[in-house]
Amino acid sequence: MFELRRITKSFGGVHVLDDISIVLKPGDRVGLSGGNGTGKSTLINIATGFLAPSSGQILLDGHSLNDQPPWKYARAGIRRSFQTSRLVPTLTVRDQFRFETCDPARRRQLVAHSALEDVLDLFPFQVPLPVLRKIEVVRALLADPRVLFLDEPSAGLSGEELSAFARFLSRNVSGDAALLIVEHRQDLMRVLVDEIVTLESHVPSVATAGKPAEAVGDA
């Protein structure tokens, strides 16, 4: 079980996150929404060890992960994608998947499910942005993560591609894994997510939780 407990973060004098608590249990599918500047990416950066919170605790199975370097988070099974896609520009797509030592059958399966076969021998700069995001998601999934944070993975996808992407996620994220996904697209949220956490701007920021239908219904 992964837990963010009473996380606050301020940059200089600006409070970005104020007293946020989130619990992710195996199998949870959580959407994180909120306007620009409400600290969605900051929250992911804190939850994966890339930023230290100003206060609050990050716990995995009750053990504190505070002050640990990001690679420890990753090895504990906490994986992420980046908001601006982050791939090695000199490697072909095929080689982007070779950092993880995982079962080749699993790798083949993921590539087939994500329909990436055609771009395997291309370099990132030859591949359109939405596909790059998908590559990142596949890369994160290769490690069979326990907790997966996706930062706007579907930006730029058309309606049809979006539903395919949602199917891909629900099919390939293991049932024991927790998924937290930052999204603007309510259609993806509706298909994928059981619960939506909304971050609000201004101090104090409040996290509201509710059923997707209710939260989205007002939007």
């Binding site: 990416s41 950066n45 890339f50 930023l51 230290a52 370097p69 990001p70 980046f82």
Partner: protein, 298 residues
């Protein structure tokens, strides 16, 4: 008394180091690049001055002008060939190696200009001043004041002129400077030219105080400038001044108490120690990999 005399000698000499370090810091602060060819562009200025001296024949004034202009010209040449083609984030390595290559080239050209290896360099004769047992060499006092004026002029340029504003803006963010109307390409040339002028002045001061020039001066001044800058804090102008003075001070004392052969050992030892304990330099920020993680755009 010895201590006081040594300290004063060291600080006076350190003012020339400060100028060298300022040239480095200016380039690093604005371009975020290391110019390994810096010392050899100063050597080129000095060698050109020696070579042209019999032709121009204005004595020390001519030597001074040619040294400064030659160094500035070489600096701009280095910028055009090694730095402006490699502006992007991936160009750090390429520009550093290119500047190393041009270092070799300028050293070789200077060697051709100095066929006898060691050539005499126009000195300035000013009588030494002494009061209550402390002797101050006249030329070193002049050095000190020239350095003070040069630093003052640099600060005036950076903080009181529009050109300086553009330079400082482009240090923070090249895009902003562009919006302010600065042509970034020309700003790069101007930065290297300005650093060349500062370094050229330093080179003249050091060479005329030694009374001679050898092709070794390029490597020597690159090292001294780099070390003084790292001691004080990378990219910080006050840091460069403090680092230069500190280096002069420390060298004078080590030479006096331990002997000249320990001078360089101490210099490099001191720098390594500072890098291990406080890598940002004395006046710089403490830059560790972990600390920078947060600042980097994730």
């Amino acid at each position: 008394m010895d201590f006081l005399q040594t300290s004063i000698d060291g600080l006076l000499f350190g003012s020339a180091y400060a100028l060298l370090a300022l040239g480095f810091s200016l380039i690093f602060g604005i371009m975020k690049r290391i110019n390994l060819a810096y010392g050899s562009s100063l050597l080129f200025g000095g060698a050109l001055a020696v070579w042209l001296e019999p032709i121009i024949g204005w004595g020390a004034v001519g030597v001074f002008l040619v040294t400064v202009l030659g160094a500035a010209f070489a600096g701009i040449y280095v910028e055009r060939l090694c730095f402006s083609p490699h502006l992007g984030k991936t160009g750090v390595m390429a520009s550093m190696i290119a500047s190393f290559a041009i270092w070799m080239q300028l050293d070789e050209i200077s060697s051709q200009l100095l066929p006898h290896r060691t050539h005499s360099f126009a000195g300035i004769d000013i009588e030494a001043v002494s009061f209550s047992g402390i002797i101050l060499r006249g030329d070193q006092i002049l050095h000190f004041w020239v350095a003070v004026v040069a630093i003052g002029a640099l600060y005036w340029t950076l903080y009181r002129t529009r050109f300086g504003l553009l330079l400082r803006a482009s240090a923070d963010d090249p895009d902003t400077a562009y919006l302010l109307g600065g042509k970034v390409a020309r700003l790069g040339m101007a930065t290297f030219g300005l650093a060349g002028v500062l370094g050229g002045i330093a080179a003249f001061l050091i060479l005329s105080s030694d009374g001679q020039i050898t092709p070794h001066f390029g490597l020597w001044s690159t090292f001294k400038g780099l070390i003084a800058m790292m001691l004080g804090g990378v990219g910080s102008l006050p840091g460069a001044i403090v680092g230069g003075l500190l280096l002069g001070f420390a060298e004078a004392h080590v030479t006096f108490y331990l002997g000249a052969e320990f001078r360089d050992i101490l210099t490099f030892g001191l720098l390594l120690l500072i890098l291990v304990l406080r890598p940002g330099g004395l006046l710089g920020e403490a830059i560790y990999r972990t600390g920078r993680l947060a600042a980097e755009r994730i």
